[in-house]
Symmetry: D2
Amino acid sequence: MLRYLTGGESHGPSLTAILDGIPAGLAVTAAYIDKQLTRRQGGYGRGGRMKIERDRVAVASGVRGGYTTGSPVTLVVKNLDWADWSRVMDPEPGAAVDERVVTRPRPGHADLAGACKYGHRDMRNVLERSSARETAARVAAGTVARRLLEELGITIAGVVTRIGTVQADVEFADAAALIKAVDGSPVYCPDPAGAGKMMEEIDRAGVEGDSLGGVFTVVVYGLPPGLGSYAQRDRTLDGRLAGALMSIQAIKGVEIGAGFAAASSRGSALHDEIFYSAAKGFYRQTNNAGGIEGGMSNGAPLLLRAAMKPIPTLYKPLRSVDMADKEPYAASVERSDVCAVPAACVVGEAVTAWELAGAVMEKFGGDTMRELSDRYQEYFQYLKGL
Amino acid sequence: MLRYLTGGESHGPSLTAILDGIPAGLAVTAAYIDKQLTRRQGGYGRGGRMKIERDRVAVASGVRGGYTTGSPVTLVVKNLDWADWSRVMDPEPGAAVDERVVTRPRPGHADLAGACKYGHRDMRNVLERSSARETAARVAAGTVARRLLEELGITIAGVVTRIGTVQADVEFADAAALIKAVDGSPVYCPDPAGAGKMMEEIDRAGVEGDSLGGVFTVVVYGLPPGLGSYAQRDRTLDGRLAGALMSIQAIKGVEIGAGFAAASSRGSALHDEIFYSAAKGFYRQTNNAGGIEGGMSNGAPLLLRAAMKPIPTLYKPLRSVDMADKEPYAASVERSDVCAVPAACVVGEAVTAWELAGAVMEKFGGDTMRELSDRYQEYFQYLKGL
Amino acid sequence: MLRYLTGGESHGPSLTAILDGIPAGLAVTAAYIDKQLTRRQGGYGRGGRMKIERDRVAVASGVRGGYTTGSPVTLVVKNLDWADWSRVMDPEPGAAVDERVVTRPRPGHADLAGACKYGHRDMRNVLERSSARETAARVAAGTVARRLLEELGITIAGVVTRIGTVQADVEFADAAALIKAVDGSPVYCPDPAGAGKMMEEIDRAGVEGDSLGGVFTVVVYGLPPGLGSYAQRDRTLDGRLAGALMSIQAIKGVEIGAGFAAASSRGSALHDEIFYSAAKGFYRQTNNAGGIEGGMSNGAPLLLRAAMKPIPTLYKPLRSVDMADKEPYAASVERSDVCAVPAACVVGEAVTAWELAGAVMEKFGGDTMRELSDRYQEYFQYLKGL
Amino acid sequence: MLRYLTGGESHGPSLTAILDGIPAGLAVTAAYIDKQLTRRQGGYGRGGRMKIERDRVAVASGVRGGYTTGSPVTLVVKNLDWADWSRVMDPEPGAAVDERVVTRPRPGHADLAGACKYGHRDMRNVLERSSARETAARVAAGTVARRLLEELGITIAGVVTRIGTVQADVEFADAAALIKAVDGSPVYCPDPAGAGKMMEEIDRAGVEGDSLGGVFTVVVYGLPPGLGSYAQRDRTLDGRLAGALMSIQAIKGVEIGAGFAAASSRGSALHDEIFYSAAKGFYRQTNNAGGIEGGMSNGAPLLLRAAMKPIPTLYKPLRSVDMADKEPYAASVERSDVCAVPAACVVGEAVTAWELAGAVMEKFGGDTMRELSDRYQEYFQYLKGL
């Protein structure tokens, strides 16, 4: 059973994740994880902070000499500005808690509901954790899962397919080409024309002091049929993936395959017919199911889409009310990101990787990568023999 | 901690659910649950079977004299055609397993992936469980949760807002009016004009041997702010609700509030500004967040939407391949539903109720309804004092 | 992941268990489960009720033609006296809840604490569930796990090693001989002399209107090393087994291997030295560890002991207080068991089987028995090669 | 829902715990946790290492200005000799993994089974995590739970009641006196005569190159009735506590109340009769149940006992076999602890605290200490009114 917990605040000393259940013998390095942390911090449309910070993971347990040992893996991402915040965020009684106090809840954030829930007058105690900064830990954790999947020949690609009103035109057939094109794009969009328009829209919104959302697509290649299960509702692969994606900050919609478009289609036009050839075994010519039927992977690439709302911290003032004196005020900031869809896409890849690795471990078990890998191959052999 | 498991096949003796963690002292009757079971079986566009069967729940534990006792609640929904199937579905070695064998996987179903996963040559062993018949148990379980929420003043309404190409025009402001209008509609749609067009589209698709999907919306009124949490990803309310909705058979998309439309909006236009009056406390004039900010309820009505694909069992043949001899064939049926969106909507209400009751129990605890209710009122008092 | 929930009251219609995660293709019949249910109802020292009742399981899902399908397994054990109790225990508002009311908490039972916790004035609402009758469902569930282990060559034996002041002299080396001797003993004790004295002690206590406890030992043969884990505290095999055994009604102590005697031993005398031969691989000549080192099975037989307190329902009056009027009274019964240690032993075997099957599934995964069995054999091959 | 994970190796950089579900507003400082860490490192009978090291916790998240915030609490205990080990334990590929290699499994340790399970040739990869060093993280985590309980008036005391053949004579009636006496004893034993003999036995064993085990007792004062539940087996308080205690390294037996002695008692002599007075409410004059009946706390002090085996690392050689060449050898060490029962006692207190806090949070819920505390008081009020 794969599981993890994370802890850490935006301006605390660090973000930490403890991963339990990773098999022994998985090759993983800090550099491999850092690559994804860097991608999470990148993307056209970010404000100043991202350029200062450079997240680096430190592995504090569970990995030795480049390989996991089967013991829990502890990952630590330091906050590089901790020195500036240590007085205010100090865990000890002497902390300067009367500085940098936040009494004005920002629309679109956890501030107001979090203050109600946890009884805080200073919403700093909310926003420090509810901030998307936390996703650095999720990306670190998910990247270990991604490494595990990679070892089995499973490839995850994340693509920004929409920013604001600009919809890109993306072809998902060729994984390698797709990933290369994404890597070359400042907005993680493999369609150069679309990417250009996206950046223009970001620039325009930035000038106007506004922010933008968008849509990213996570594609997974190389999955066998039979991950997840219809047997119990909380074991369905689509349920788990949708839950993981929707749990990312600012995500308001999730689709699998045809998604909402499926609702408008006729059954005769939508379902992916089944074919067979000796070379390919059972296969499909379409993928409206997005790789999931009956709560299980069906052997086709997974196609997941998530809609991100625009960043709620913006220059243009939003009306709100001070919790202390109930006076209205105009919430605005002096520096912010315009668009964080590329970053969210990286988080989406990471949480997808984690859920898939969990489904893999449930089906294949194994305390070592050798066991896992052998069993995985045996399953493919068995499938060929069907 | 609220949890439940279900068991049962489409043509087995019964569907069963065991619910653990329901507080003592909750008034609940079989008739209350049956009302939702009946709604699940209704809705314009269903084929013959639904008309024969009339699901009735039997409470086999955990309720006495009309009140829960704090012990696990066992709910049993008998399959009324068990007598016809008992030979074929018999758990004992003598079962007639060579009858009603299914070797032809239906596109859009769990059949093929399930056969691979569980090693079945007879896909009856898959479809008996993967069928949406299982949702009768989920509706029964979720209805106990709905009863609990009702006791706290929380109301859940489900509305069919689209069938095929017909989009209804629905106003969510007035819960009572909405529910009444839904109850009066054969397609669970409160917009009479829309409902009429939906039924025409269903009739047309029926004549053409085709099937339709659609969209339903679940609205929840009366929630306090602070259910769910941003503290850990798997405690976010949006993550849990999305996971629960996507785990329903045939659901391919989930939205909260503005959903995918949020991706195209400007931040300045989307976020729900915060206001305050002595009478109302903090409030919003818009609800693009759909009642969830920062992974928590924010006090506004919850707005959840789910997209259902068309039923994959249809008269019009879909191409597939026989698993036994690898020969292609045309999958078609002689009788089927044309559209099950109204039924799915009832399931959506039920799973929403369950997740919300879970979030309520985490925040308020309590082994008795009296405790729960007192604490709930105290929280509202506290909120008023903020 | 293996899990199950049970529901059901002593005098309700039935006890139900839903098991999730059992692989497909496991051969299991009602008769196989019934054998354990019968053993649970047997044993020298039981009062009248056990002789009337004859528990029989009905499999309501997840098994077809004698084999599991991979879907949840629902097991139902009917209460044969339901007809006598249906008026009083009726779930509906009309139940005769003013009959058979219990306001007098019995020492040694859940009655008083349960009434406080769940807010009941009628402690029938507590005792109906807290009763050891519930273990019929646990035995049913655990027996499916036992079947799975059996398929892998793992054998579980339960032995009553003490009743009251009588300690039996038992030799655990030969599993088959042990089980045969247990099966032939009315007190499930393979030592004929000891068994004779136990029955005398039971007779004596019965005459005196008293009750007896005792100790049972569960032995498990054929486990490989490496089940459970030291990696995280809640994955330790000893922790899980101790938790499962202590959760059985009336159990007050659990030991593994030397148990409390280990506390008085010198390290040089206690630890099981390690030897190697080409034929046996690594082996031990002693088993003070009881088959568990470092939270994992170590390849030696598992030796678990549990201490059961005497049945608290007895003829000899125990002093208590009526909850309604706070008047003292003498709690006594007219008919009761004198000793239920043999029954508890069967429950102990069942919960041990369940925990072990869970540890097996975590290490080996698998949706089918074929997969599980293949992987299990491969692990033994690998161990031989070390 | 309270939960935590830990990571970290004996000679890695640090041990880490992430705690999820601690309510906001709990006063907690590093010094409060350090006190327990120091106690864990103390106790007569420890070898050299304990004297060098001084564990100190660093709080890396979830606490600000001396109060929890409701966000996950991250606790880090650095290993002070990390500099000496960083080359050998380095997570990166360049680690000196060919140094300090362990190929000789020590009897009584996880070494051999762990090597089998996780496929390690170098058992350092096992012992680094399976070592009781890990309990520093458990103590840190459990101490936060202890703080929470303390706030509610619940007191936990741990007492060493046996070392080797020396049984102390301990009176548990007066919590404050007990704790004071324990604090003043080098072996955490409040009986001065017994403590003296324990130290003599430790000295003797030390001279002889041997090691000792023992028994500790954890007592909990101030619990209300009704924590835990009989409703489902895995919610029983005794089951959870036994599981937690048995999961501690080297624990081989657990008793609650009379424990194994209950097995030899007559029912009429064992069960705690129930009395009532207006001043005290319901009460008992005996506590053979150890504070738990029917899987719930019953309002009497909790009495838990755990048996620890002697430390398996000792000067006197134990026979084992080298895994690499299968040659026998005599396992011995040059420096080791003679007895770690006092340390284990502190771990026992910590894991008890954690389980109890979990049971409290399930019954009372609450996101803030204010809510929790109010509800807790209300429950006591309600109990008084019974």
